[in-house]
């Protein structure tokens, strides 16, 4: 089963929830930190790192000897990443989306692909916890291909917990798509509520069951709860503001390591998610019954076929 921890608003406690949920499991569990712009989960898991992999995305390289300056490459490119100017072909690798269009369009087979560094993936473990995260190269704009690479490490046989980036645009979609359940971490403030509504909108577009976790639940107002009740969104857990929790977090200590009584609560959270994520619920988009297995299969086919 894949559980994606997302939020809309940043700083609501996604990483705190993802890491503590992972550390509360008795069986094998996998934690994928897909917030590749600002990955933080490792700061609380302290995994023994085992391997690093440099991740690249294909971008065009033009063989000037073969190129006839016909301009077809520039014609097909939607991203202004390649164009013919005068007697030369210019490529702008940082603008390239790696669609391969220029290479396919070139009648002279003058274009091949080289890699642009997106960042790295690091893997490690802590006891039965399998840890993977991506680190976007500073200066790189496109995080979704790196997020998809992190997700290609998903092991079908275990529980996979994904720490998603904030927001509701393409990086978040890349971190939620194909999940069996999305846990939305929010805070009971106007900013928290507004961004939660956006996040719920994104989850609905993807047709994934979701529930809420309200962090710092006693700081703010009741509007998040009212919204949850009006929209039949289950509130699966509430964590009140506690200076001890904030201080442990500030030092890179997992809540369940410092206050072990939380372990049981996180395990209960998992049990409730498991109940809700399992089949029978028809997808609002397709109308088809869907469950963990089916959705996961689609994801694996996608990653296997992916031509990165």
């Amino acid at each position: 089963m894949i559980i994606s921890i997302a939020s809309g608003k940043g700083g609501t406690g996604k990483t705190m929830v993802a890491t503590n949920l992972a550390l509360s499991m008795d069986s094998d569990v996998q934690l994928l930190d897909c917030d590749v712009e600002e990955p933080n989960a490792h700061l609380f898991i302290h995994p023994a790192l085992e391997g690093t992999e440099i991740i690249t995305t294909p971008v065009p390289q033009v063989d000037e000897d073969k190129c006839t300056l016909c301009g077809k490459c520039g014609e097909i490119c939607q991203f202004k990443a390649i164009l013919v100017i005068g007697e030369t072909v210019l490529t702008f690798h940082e603008l390239c989306h790696s669609c391969g269009g220029c290479m396919a369009a070139c009648p002279e087979e003058a274009i091949t692909e080289i890699g642009r560094d997106l960042g790295i993936i690091e893997r490690g473990h802590r006891n039965g916890l399998d840890f993977v995260h991506g680190r976007l190269r500073v200066g790189e704009a496109m995080s979704p291909p790196l997020i998809r690479k992190v997700r290609s490490h998903t092991r079908p046989d275990t529980l996979t917990i994904i720490d998603a980036p904030p927001g509701t645009s393409c990086p978040v979609i890349a971190a939620m798509q194909g999940a069996d359940f999305v846990l939305l971490v929010t805070e009971p403030t106007p900013f928290g509520l507004y961004d939660l509504k956006l996040a719920v909108g994104a989850v609905k577009i993807l047709g994934i069951p979701c529930g809420l976790l309200i962090n710092r639940s006693d700081m703010g107002d009741d509007k998040v709860k009212e919204y949850a009740h009006e929209n039949d969104l289950p509130i699966l857990m509430e964590i009140p503001f506690d200076r001890r929790i904030a201080e442990a977090y500030s030092r890179g200590k997992a809540l369940v390591d410092v206050m072990p009584e939380w372990k049981e609560k996180f395990f209960e959270l998992y049990s409730r998610i498991e109940e809700m994520a399992m089949p029978t619920t028809p997808s609002p988009l397709t109308g088809e019954g869907r469950g963990g297995g089916g959705n996961r299969k689609i994801w694996h086919e996608r990653t296997r076929d992916h031509k990165w």
């Binding site: 809309g8 608003k9 940043g10 700083g11 609501t12 990483t15 917030d35 712009e37 600002e38 933080n40 700061l43 609380f44 097909i76 939607q78 790696s98 669609c99 391969g100 269009g101 396919a104 369009a105 976007l136 500073v138 200066g139 790189e140 704009a141 496109m142 995080s143 980036p165 904030p166 927001g167 509701t168 645009s169 393409c170 990086p171 979609i173 798509q177 403030t189 106007p190 900013f191 507004y194 961004d195 956006l198 909108g201 994104a202 577009i205 993807l206 700081m219 703010g220 107002d221 904030a246 201080e247 977090y249 500030s250 030092r251 890179g252 996608r302 076929d305 992916h306 031509k307 990165w308």
Partner: protein, 297 residues
């Protein structure tokens, strides 16, 4: 890239953080109450929150169109499968329908379809506004949920903010930036006069501050930092400020942890409107004075 602010003798301060939830928007709203003759700009188009405090009256509303989306005409399609073979996004289903979420808008299928069966309309993927607020004009936007092109929308709102400032002969733009270090952040800081990084004294705050500071250095934008909620961990605050100096950032005053941030937000008010003399508010006022000295205003 770059909005070319400096060429016009105008200053733009962009507030970013790396890590989300450190207080960017509340602090920017407080600055809005202190600054005169400025345009407010919300460049966090993906999860824009500044309007929740500013309560803007929308004066101009525009659609944001960017990028294209492939649509297969089922009547013309001969199911030759070429598009499915060429698509690197697996966006085309076995029954030749394009998944709008997967579609990258690269147009490769459109270009190669032998039947010219694929339409490629421009997508409307958001909207942007010019508004009036009790603190002056504001340019803001809303990216459609699950949409792409956030960087382009960020660039657009910054350009519009600059135009508006020129028209009104204002010399300052206050821009609320997004979290992270990716596409929308890069679009938010290129060509800015300076960035203020708001961080918090946690291991995550430190880690993320360093990455966003490196990003600012990469694009040659001068950076300053302030630590919010500093008293939650004074030792970590000291470490963060030392690391910031090593990364050539100017360290400004600290802000104490204060529930007034949340209370003011719940009331839709700035820190100063909620309480004219709070400890946190006074710290923010001091930071504003330091900023004005640093930015030469």
């Amino acid at each position: 890239m770059g909005v070319g602010i400096e060429r016009f003798g105008m200053k733009e301060l962009v507030i970013i953080s790396g890590k989300g939830g450190t207080g960017k928007t509340s602090i920017l709203a407080a600055f809005a109450a202190l600054a005169e003759n400025k345009v407010l700009c919300d460049a966090d188009v993906d999860a824009a929150d500044l309007h929740l405090v500013m309560a803007p009256t929308v004066e101009e509303h525009h659609d944001f169109q960017s990028g294209h989306m492939a649509i297969i005409d089922q009547d013309k399609c001969t199911e030759c499968d070429l598009c499915r073979n060429l698509c690197r996004w697996n966006a085309i289903s076995e029954d030749y329908r394009v998944d709008p979420i997967q579609c990258e808008g690269c147009g490769v299928c459109v270009y190669f379809c032998p039947e010219e069966a694929i339409d490629f309309p421009l997508s409307t993927c958001g909207e942007w506004f010019i508004s009036d607020t009790r603190f002056g004009p504001m340019v803001h936007a809303r990216l459609g949920i699950a949409e792409e092109n956030s960087g382009k929308l960020v660039t657009l709102v910054r350009q519009e903010a600059k135009k508006l400032a020129e028209k009104k002969a204002f010399d300052l733009i206050l821009t609320d930036g997004p979290p992270g270090i990716g596409c929308p952040v890069i679009a938010s800081i290129g060509g800015a006069s300076a960035v203020l990084i708001v961080t918090e004294p946690t291991v995550s705050g430190k880690h993320d501050m360093v990455r966003v500071a490196q990003l600012a250095a990469h694009f040659k934008v001068p950076g300053m930092i302030c630590v919010n909620k500093f008293d939650l961990n004074p030792e970590e605050t000291q470490i963060i400020e030392d690391v910031a100096r090593e990364n050539d950032l100017v360290v400004l005053s600290r802000i104490p942890f204060d529930p007034i941030f949340t209370k003011a937000m719940v009331q839709g008010q700035t820190l100063f409107e909620y309480n004219t003399n709070s400890e946190a508010g006074n710290a923010v006022r001091k930071i504003w004075e330091e900023l004005m000295v640093r930015m030469g205003s």
